[in-house]
Amino acid sequence: MNSKKSDVLIIVPAYNESENITGIVEEIRDNYPQFDYVVVNDGSSDNTGAICKKHGYNHINCPINLGIGGAIQTGYRYAREMNYEIAVQIDGDGQHDPAYIEEIIKPILEDKADYVIGSRFVENKGFQSSFARRAGIHFFSFLIMILCFKKVKDVTSGFRAVNKFFIDVFADYYPIDYPEPEAIVDAVMRRKRILELPVVMRERDGGKSSINLKRSVYYMIKVTLNMIVCRISYGIRR
């Protein structure tokens, strides 16, 4: 059950996702029996860990909640330890459709990209999120544009695939609590090929989003500063 059988690892971070986790893992198992996956149970206070154990899923239990960044980094560290060539990260809440995994790893397999982002805004299909969130996403997109001259539309998408280079980079350092936009700045500044591919996202099946209205102001300020600091730390390039 746990031995490595492929070069592709699908990382599924899960924090209190007892309602969704079986659905997403079964979908991955049914659609991609050829790929490996690992569920990172990020110190959940519900029975997410027990469910993984009961079903015999390949899973890692973090004893304390690390936050999404720390959980994903655990997945990347596992990928490095097990020597995987490609890692795909997909949210444990059922928002991302595993059917697109094949498409987003294709450019990496063909060596056309190092970092692929599954984006809901390239073709504007499926669940598009609320107006306020889209405004926030556009703001970050604009910020990335002025910080590093790279157009990325869906900067907060947690549906991504990376090659071995980034597995190594992210195993060493991954931004901690709202990591997605900062990770893009980091990747662009490393002068790697970033590609955005259209995917269709679904509305969450159950559970709550990690970002509510109260936290959103804090989120905007923190992520903006993080991105700027990340950009500055690379000095003058391009």
């Binding site: 239990n61 973090c62 720390g70």
Partner: protein, 130 residues
């Protein structure tokens, strides 16, 4: 003109610094403080003592800074030290947070390996029984 620290206040301040050093030393002795993180506190105390014992030096420094009262100058210098201390504490806390994260991740990865090894052991035991 400038007001030099009154003699009585000088004694009070020196006494306070001595008490401060005694507290730090006793904490160090009982291993409740790490020398690494205590150096800045000791240095602050020494600097404060030097300034209190050397009113002329204090006088010159505050003249350069453009402060008109000796006591104000002493307070401002002390506040500057405190800000540095708090900042260094925040930096220590951040460093520890990232180290704890690394530890948790390593522990989680190890726990997974142990779990796998145990299940393999159980399997081979059952095979042996058969």
């Amino acid at each position: 003109m400038f007001q030099i620290i009154p003699p009585r206040l000088t004694f009070v301040l020196i006494f306070a610094v001595i008490v401060y050093f005694i507290i730090i030393l006793s904490l160090l002795k009982h291993k409740k403080l790490n020398m690494k993180y205590t150096l800045l506190w000791l240095f602050t105390g020494v600097a404060f003592l030097v300034l209190v014992l050397n009113p002329i030096l204090l006088f010159k420094i505050i003249q350069i800074l453009g402060i008109t009262s000796t006591m104000n100058g002493l307070f401002i210098i002390l506040i500057a030290f405190l800000i540095m201390l708090v900042l260094s504490l925040t930096s220590i806390a951040s460093r520890q947070a990232s180290r704890i994260t690394t530890l948790i991740q390593t522990q989680a990865l190890l726990e997974k390996r142990v779990r796998e090894i145990e299940s393999k052991l159980d399997e081979s035991k059952e095979e042996n029984k058969e």
